[in-house]
Amino acid sequence: MNVSRRIVLHFPPNMTGQPVVCRLVKDFGLTFNIIRASVSPGQDGLLVLELSGERKNYDKGIKYLNETGIEIQSLSQDVVRDEAKCTHCGACITICPTGAFVLEPKTRKVLFDHSKCVVCGLCVKACPPRAMILYV
């Protein structure tokens, strides 16, 4: 499975001279798109990347970044369901533009297919018991 995430990398001054992104491509087969960069030798650096690749390789790449001492901040917003708060009423079903909420016919419980979620956030405010949470 492929993943694509937006991340923010905070470089400590001693790391700004390292070919970090090059290694992500060469060693882990990841592709990247630079959204914003501010990297000068000997100073704190900041790099906003969209990083894509096979899940397995992506995880290895992130592990490598962690080991270098670079601080990673996830920029990818995420919508998750607080299972303790969800009452399975189903108000979200017709609100979601991608059909990420599906009724399980037998139990009539509402299943949330996270892979279909595009993080539009429409369900967050439309959920009556406020069980959908947007992480920024």
């Binding site: 009452t87 009423c89 108000a91 079903i93 009539r108 405010k125 439309a126 009556p128 018991p129």
Partner: protein, 402 residues
């Protein structure tokens, strides 16, 4: 008559009672036949779990030293205003009350993330609540200010008293306009983008006893995870509403006023709820046992989703303008299929009432009865029936004059 409530209670005490849910009874009666099923089953349990705005709690906080007369003063619980127009330390907190600094719909659509319903849920969960009060002071109640944490366990009384719950059937809401509408029936997408309904259908208490032959004043019920009672018919009780041949109302009809000790309820079954652009409320869990006193009563409990019709109402115009027009009728089996046809358009459906939770309530109530923890009560007075001719009246405005 097959059996009396006293006989059912005797069977409960002996551990011999036969209880099924209003969902289970449908297949059972089909399989065994109505007569045999009526002979076998003593009690059918129902359930519903929906936002119910006419809900609230009466609280008696106990007296401070020196005393303060909160009555006639201003009191806030976690910044939510409560009604103080009763005795010194009695308060009423309504489900839809909002903090005064909530922007409401000033920033449209308002989010209404906190209010009375949430305070009630936190109270029941045993959380400390911040009480802030000002009073005018009297000779016998000299104190004028109070700021303290309070907890349900320290109160003298905490009583849930909902004046309208468990609506017998309800509208299916759609939006014919070209703008999104934010309603108490949820977010309605433009041009028939969705249809929202709000009933447990075949599991709903009053749909299983359409003529109120067993449910009356004093009926013991599952309320908010604890034990409660039917206190009265609910406000807007309309037994004269249009009915099908099976006796089942095709419009919103009967309602229940219910009461119970909040201290023994559970926060899982009283849930603070927010309707975008509309307000804050409380989702309430209610389950009513129906004693199978006769074959006729069993037949009513056999009602299935396909036999219950609900009106489709346009919430962009007809509802707000109080026009009687409906766009047609649809049954709950169709609503639960996920799609209905309105004006030849395929419209996806959503529910505001949780069916899985309704099933759970009916099952919990069944377990309580089977375990001998819940005895049935004989109603002390009936709910007004069709013969009363009662139906909801509109407000006729009159000029106030000089």
């Amino acid at each position: 008559m097959l059996r009396t409530i006293a006989e059912i209670n005797e069977r409960i005490r002996k551990g011999k009672v036969v209880v099924v849910t209003a969902e289970e009874v449908i297949d059972l009666a089909k399989e065994k036949g109505i007569s045999k099923a009526a002979e076998k089953v003593d009690v059918v349990t129902t359930g519903t779990f929906s936002p119910m705005c006419s809900s609230g709690v009466f609280l008696n906080t106990g007296h401070t030293k020196p005393r303060i007369k909160l009555g006639g003063g201003k009191v806030y619980l976690n910044d939510v205003p409560v009604y103080t127009g009763i005795a010194a330390v009695d308060l009423f907190l309504g489900a839809t009350a909002l903090p005064e600094d909530d922007p409401r719909n000033k920033f449209y659509p308002g989010e209404f993330n906190y209010g009375g319903g949430y305070v009630i849920q936190e109270l029941v969960a045993g959380k400390d609540i911040r009480l802030v009060a000002t009073a005018y002071g009297t000779d016998c109640y000299p104190r004028k200010k109070l700021e303290t944490l309070i907890n349900i366990k320290d109160m003298n009384e905490a009583i849930l008293f909902d004046v309208r719950n468990a609506y017998q059937n309800y509208n299916v809401a759609v939006n014919l306009s070209d703008k999104v509408r934010y309603t108490y029936m949820g977010v309605l997408k433009p041009n028939l983008g969705n249809a929202n309904y709000c009933s447990a259908g075949q599991l709903s208490p009053l749909l299983n006893d359409p003529y109120y032959k067993t449910i009356g004043v004093g009926t013991r019920i599952f309320l908010g995870g604890g034990i409660g009672y039917v206190a009265w018919h609910g406000t807007q009780h309309s037994p004269a509403a249009l009915r099908g041949d099976n006796g089942v109302p095709r419009r919103g009809a009967g309602t229940l006023a219910v009461i119970g000790d909040l201290k023994q309820m559970k926060s899982e079954w009283l849930v603070g709820t927010s309707m975008l652009g509309y307000g804050c409320t409380l989702t309430v869990g209610i389950g009513v046992p129906i004693p199978i006193l006769s074959e006729e009563i069993l037949r009513y409990t056999m009602v299935g989703d396909a036999e219950i019709l609900a009106p489709i109402v346009d919430y962009s115009d007809a509802y707000p303008q109080r026009e009687p027009d409906i766009l047609g009728e649809v049954n709950y089996a169709a609503l639960k299929s996920g799609h209905i046809k309105v004006r030849k358009k395929d419209v996806p459906t959503s529910s505001l009432s949780s069916y899985p939770k309704a099933v759970e309530i009916a099952s919990v109530l069944k377990q309580w009865i089977e375990a001998g923890d819940f005895l049935l009560t004989e109603p002390v007075a009936p709910l007004p029936g069709m013969e009363s001719g009662m139906s909801t009246k509109p407000l006729k405005e009159r000029p106030v004059g000089e």
